[in-house]
């Protein structure tokens, strides 16, 4: 065996050593299922009329409270609307709420994080204090305040949930950026004479983005759940918008009579969270060079 081959052989074993620590966490079939679910969600978002079996807003009071059947896969609600079709129709709204709220939180968090980690000591100090102050307003409380000021509704709810997640993101992102900024590969780039702008755009941000993205996948489901809590308090999405949280909140009234009214929208929320989380983890593994 030549020296080179030998090195490659050891390299292979070294490489297989590293992922061995992470491998077997989540079976890869999970990733596939998660991807399939996300594809379904996307289809339901882009072309709900193709995925749905009926008009989500068509009422038929005579058909109210029918349990799941071949005609109504997920049963019907209190107005005789098809729960499956409403779940499909609600995908866009719910994802929009989840994604937008998370995006707002992340964007704010990113802005604050970048400011704190690159803006010098004074900026860092100020941002840290600001984040602490924001933290002192727990999520729903902040949301309630925003709603008091701007009135209830899906937009306010989304903004409120987004705002309330921002300090958390800011803190994590700042930590991430500081770690990357003081990493040896950034130092190596400095040694090569790279300008700060180039270091930030080539090294810092790209490396920070992946973990932030993973964070976002966790955030989407949470945002939907909090928006649902606002719906329960009567401060969320407005009818007849089929939004999962609102459906869950509305169906809860009939839990004893019609379990399917909450279980299916609930499953969608849980499913979305699981799917995005699983995909997020798979992505991290790939980012780390693992399989």
């Amino acid at each position: 065996m030549s020296d080179l081959e030998l090195q490659q052989a050891t390299a292979v074993s070294a490489a297989s050593h590293a992922p061995a620590r992470r491998r077997g966490r989540m079976p890869r079939i999970g990733t596939v299922l998660a991807a399939a679910f996300v594809v379904f969600l996307l289809a339901a978002t882009v072309a709900p009329e193709l995925v749905a079996t009926q008009d989500p807003n068509e009422i038929a009071p005579g058909d109210a409270f029918q349990s799941p059947s071949l005609a109504h896969w997920f049963g019907t609600d209190e107005s005789g609307r098809d729960v499956y079709s409403r779940v499909v129709a609600g995908t866009a709204t719910s994802l929009l709420i989840g994604v937008t709220a998370t995006a707002i939180g992340l964007a704010l968090g990113l802005g604050l994080g970048v400011l704190a980690s690159f803006g010098g000591r004074i900026a860092d100090f100020s941002v840290n204090r600001l984040v602490e102050v924001l933290f002192a307003f727990p999520g729903l409380l902040l949301a309630l305040l925003v709603i008091v000021v701007y009135g209830p509704g899906p937009v306010t709810a989304t903004v409120a949930v987004g705002l309330s997640t921002a300090p958390g993101y800011a803190r994590i992102i700042r930590g991430q950026l500081v770690a990357i900024r003081s990493s040896q590969y950034v130092e190596a780039a400095r040694v090569l004479g790279r300008s700060p702008a180039r270091i930030i755009s080539r090294h810092v941000l790209p490396n920070a983005l992946l973990p932030i993205f993973v964070l976002a996948t966790l955030g989407i489901g949470q945002a939907i759940v909090w928006a649902a809590a606002l719906s329960y308090l009567g401060l969320g999405a407005q009818p007849p918008a089929a939004e999962w949280g609102a459906m869950l909140a509305a169906g809860r009234t009939y839990l004893a009579t019609a379990w399917w009214m909450t279980v299916f929208p609930g499953l969608m929320i849980v499913g979305t969270t699981i799917a995005t989380t699983v995909l997020g983890r798979a992505l991290t593994r790939r980012g780390r060079g693992e399989r």
Partner: protein, 518 residues
């Protein structure tokens, strides 16, 4: 429910209320239904009403009106004392009316009820004379209400803060303790002597105490009843009523509130509903019967009257509300709403036929909100774009004050048909400084005005009935409102609770005659 068996004394009744927790237990202050619910247990009014709508004695054993209707004399019972020992006398009545009319009391409902009472004079110890600024045919009905109940003058003198915590009355129970956001403890008034004339027994109540809890979540409330944790709940969900009906250990007490029916009002003060054709089109387009059946599980009766079915003078006209999509479309075409946009909504001069519909999540139960969604869906067929906005109470009032609505549903409880004057007299369009006004349909018709004014001041019962009928006809035929059903007011009781009933006044439950059977 029918009482059965011998009453037994003792025990604590647990009541779970879904109404908002009052901010003040004195119903003179403000004056809303949650306050009435509680006040009914420890405060009493001068007069009451029986099942047939007849006024009957309570704290006042008799009364006479002057022929011109400008003064009333009430003779009080002489054996009644407040629970702080203060005797009930004409002075006390005078003090109460003055309290209600004092702006510092911030009374709203009671203040309106006594709107035509100028002052009270003490004729002798047991006789109080109400001096009127103008005749008021509704005075007796108004006086039955808990919002004008008589409290101990000594209690009132303590000042609002203290009085709000535990008002002192003559009722069968006494406020013992109010733990905010949790419960109010009521204990028996052992010296009780003043049941209304239609009560089933004399003397103190059978129950030793009432534990009055605030349980805002309807599912939790019903669960608590099922689990035997509480004995009575109010505001049950329609589906749970229907489930309770088939449950041997639960009983349903259906007590629609008096005054107005639940209805959707059409804002005729601005476009597009300033056009009667558009109003009719909306009413013809909307279908609610099936929805009411499904959503209320047969517990709510469709109404075709502006007044509650409890009111003897309620006038119905079913034909006006026959759904007729073709007619609706024709009317809209006629009114110039001829085009439709891509979403199928009608447009005129580039503006969509949009109906803003603020809905108060505090005042409309989920079933009603669902019904509104169905209204939204059926109105769409005719090309109406109904935009429902779920709002908390303050925002909802705000939207009304700003006239940011085309349709709205607001409950109004008052004993007697005089509620029509509050809701549909053009005077009620003028807002109070707070911006609130009761005439949400913004009905401004001199003929209706004069009918309602006359009805309120006539002393002849038949004339009064006739005037109210004509007023109701005009209101209905003008398509100012879509009546839905009586103001739902239900209670579910465990069958161990015997002898409980709702007062025929504002339908609050009374537990004076109630006992706990094992």
């Amino acid at each position: 429910p029918e009482a059965s068996g011998e009453p037994v004394s003792g025990g604590t009744l647990a009541y779970a209320s879904g109404d908002a927790e009052p901010t003040c237990l004195d119903p003179h202050v403000g004056g809303n239904y949650p306050q009435a619910l509680l006040a009914g247990q420890f405060l009493e009014s001068l007069v009451s009403r029986d099942d047939s709508g007849e006024i009957i004695p309570w704290l006042a054993e008799s009364w006479t009106a002057a022929d011109d209707g400008l003064s009333w004399e009430f003779t009080l019972r002489d054996d009644v004392a407040f629970t702080d020992g203060t005797p009930l006398d004409a002075e006390a009545v005078k003090a109460n009316v003055e309290h209600l009319k004092d702006p510092a009391t911030q009374s709203s409902t009671g203040y309106l009820a006594l709107g035509k009472v100028d002052r009270v004079e003490v004729v002798d110890e047991q006789v109080a004379r109400f001096v009127m600024s103008s005749p008021d045919s509704a005075l007796l009905e108004s006086l039955t209400q808990p919002w004008v109940a008589i409290e101990s003058p000594a209690g009132l003198a303590r000042g609002m803060d203290e009085n709000c915590q535990a008002p002192i009355g003559t009722g069968p129970f006494i406020v013992d303790e109010w733990v905010k956001q949790d419960h109010v403890s009521l204990v028996r008034n052992d010296d009780y002597t003043s049941p209304p004339a239609d009560a089933a027994h004399d003397g103190p109540a059978y129950l030793e105490a009432i534990d009055w809890r605030f349980v805002p979540d309807s599912a939790s409330r019903y669960a608590a009843l099922q689990a035997g944790q509480v004995d009575v709940i109010d505001n049950p969900q329609p589906d749970t009523i229907s489930a309770a009906k088939s449950n041997d250990s639960l009983a349903w007490l259906d007590a629609p509130r008096p005054g107005a029916a639940n209805r959707i009002e059409l804002n005729s003060g601005q476009a597009p509903f300033d056009d009667e054709r558009v109003r009719e089109a909306f009413i013809r387009a909307v279908e609610v019967d099936e929805g009411i059946d499904a959503l209320f599980f047969g517990t709510a009766e469709r109404s075709f009257s502006p007044l509650s079915s409890v009111e003897a003078l309620a006038y119905s006209d079913e034909a006006l509300f026959e759904p007729d999509l073709d007619r609706a479309n024709a009317l809209l075409d006629e009114a110039g709403w001829t085009e439709r946009d891509a979403d199928g909504y009608r447009v005129k001069d580039g503006a969509r036929l949009t109906l803003r519909f603020p809905v108060s999540t505090n005042q409309s139960i989920p079933a009603e909100q669902s019904l509104f969604e169905q209204v939204q869906a059926t109105a769409k067929a005719a090309g109406f774009d109904v935009v429902i906005e779920l709002l908390d109470l303050s925002s909802w009032y705000g939207a009304l004050a700003e006239h940011e609505y085309e349709i709205v549903s607001a409950p109004y409880t008052k004993v007697g048909p005089d509620v029509l004057r509050i809701l549909y007299h053009s005077d009620s369009i003028t807002p109070a400084p707070s911006g609130y006004f009761a005439n949400l349909a913004q009905l401004d018709d001199p003929e209706v005005d004069s009918l309602l004014t006359d009805a309120a001041s006539t002393s002849d019962a038949d004339t009064r009935a006739d005037l109210y009928e004509r007023a109701q006809q005009l209101i209905l035929e003008g398509y100012y409102l879509l009546p839905l059903y009586d103001q739902q007011n239900s209670f579910l009781l465990s069958t161990s609770v015997q002898g409980a009933r709702a007062m025929p006044t504002v339908s609050t439950p009374t537990f004076y005659d109630a006992w706990l059977a094992d």
